[in-house]
Amino acid sequence: MNDQANTKLDFLEKAVLWDKGNTIDAFDDGRVFYHHWGRSINSGDNSLFSALTQMYNPLYLNKEYAKAEGHPGCVVAPLLVFNTVLGMTVEDLSLRGPFVGIKDCKFLSPVYESDTLTCRSAVLNKRYSESKKGAAIVTWKTEGFNQSNELVIEFVRSNFLVM
């Protein structure tokens, strides 16, 4: 019985961690990251997010209201655009330490349901910590685009990376 269990768990010993993300030394000034996946925001995404976060403006939840205001359909809640673009940058940029702040976030063009978002970031700055050896505050500028390559959002983010 014991032998059987040991055989079954052999893979635990053999396994090599297929790690994700970057460490501080990857963030040279000006380096640009084209982030993974892209995301089409469908109407379910927008309704779920807007209702769950109580983003109560009919522009995001009532198609007829949005159309009366001159939009082709519901507007995607700007905070969903922000969260999705931020979300897609996390693996490349910030798996190794907590959020410090966001500045200069601009919503440059409305996003509509079924639009597809992609994003990229450039390293703006890296400042090594005086109090914590080997740690650094890294600052990036992130830009999010729709399927027509139109810039829809941009922001500057800093994280405190510990390795």
């Binding site: 995301r39 997010f49 922000f82 910030s94 919503f107």
Partner: protein, 188 residues
């Protein structure tokens, strides 16, 4: 008999003015029926501070759903066991998943939105966003808003800058950030 706008605006601008008048009257009708009537551009005074009516306990469902929905792949937001191990090794302040900051920001702004966002024509920008304390599954958030500035933009709208504050059940500040939006005027 010509309607009054033909003589008032002249022939060239008639089409666009008329289109705008029709569009605005259609919106105004829906807007009056479907939204509150105390949260237009005219209602905001610089320096006013509001406490918003509802609080919200951030459930694991809210936090992890939104985190995955927006494809944030940081394990700290959805792997309790990893966080427990990190905490034991003194690599994390708490031994459980942390709520993704984007969720905290969205819920605090969401709690303010019936007051500060229902008449938004367009969100313009956010700035000076800070997350100043940990938010965990089960933390209750309350939302406060200060009006920083307002400026006339158009016949039908103006630009307002708010400072949003999010506090937890112990009144500790967990989020602060500024938000600027184009807001509808009531009288148009």
């Amino acid at each position: 008999m010509s309607p009054i706008y033909l003589t008032t605006f002249g022939e060239i601008s008639t089409a666009s003015k008329l289109k705008k008048v029709i569009r605005m009257s259609a919106i105004n009708k829906m807007n009056e029926r479907l939204t509150g009537q105390d949260n237009y551009f005219e209602n905001f005074e610089v320096g006013a501070v509001y406490q918003h009516a509802r609080g919200k306990t951030v459930t694991e469902n809210d936090a992890v759903t939104i985190c995955h929905l927006v494809m944030n792949s940081a394990s700290a937001h959805f792997d309790d066991h990893l966080m427990k191990q990190m905490h034991q090794k003194k690599l994390a302040h708490v031994g459980e998943s942390l709520v993704f900051g984007g969720v905290t920001i969205s819920i605090v702004i969401g709690l303010s939105y019936q007051d500060t966002g229902e008449q938004v024509i367009r969100e313009l920008s956010m700035d000076n966003i800070k997350l100043t304390g940990p938010v965990l599954h089960g933390t209750t958030l309350y939302s406060y808003t200060e009006v920083l500035s307002k400026e006339d933009a158009d016949d039908d709208s103006g630009v307002v800058t708010f400072r949003h504050y999010g506090v937890d059940q112990d009144k500790s500040l967990v989020f602060q950030g500024d938000r600027t939006a184009l807001i509808r005027k009531k009288q148009y």
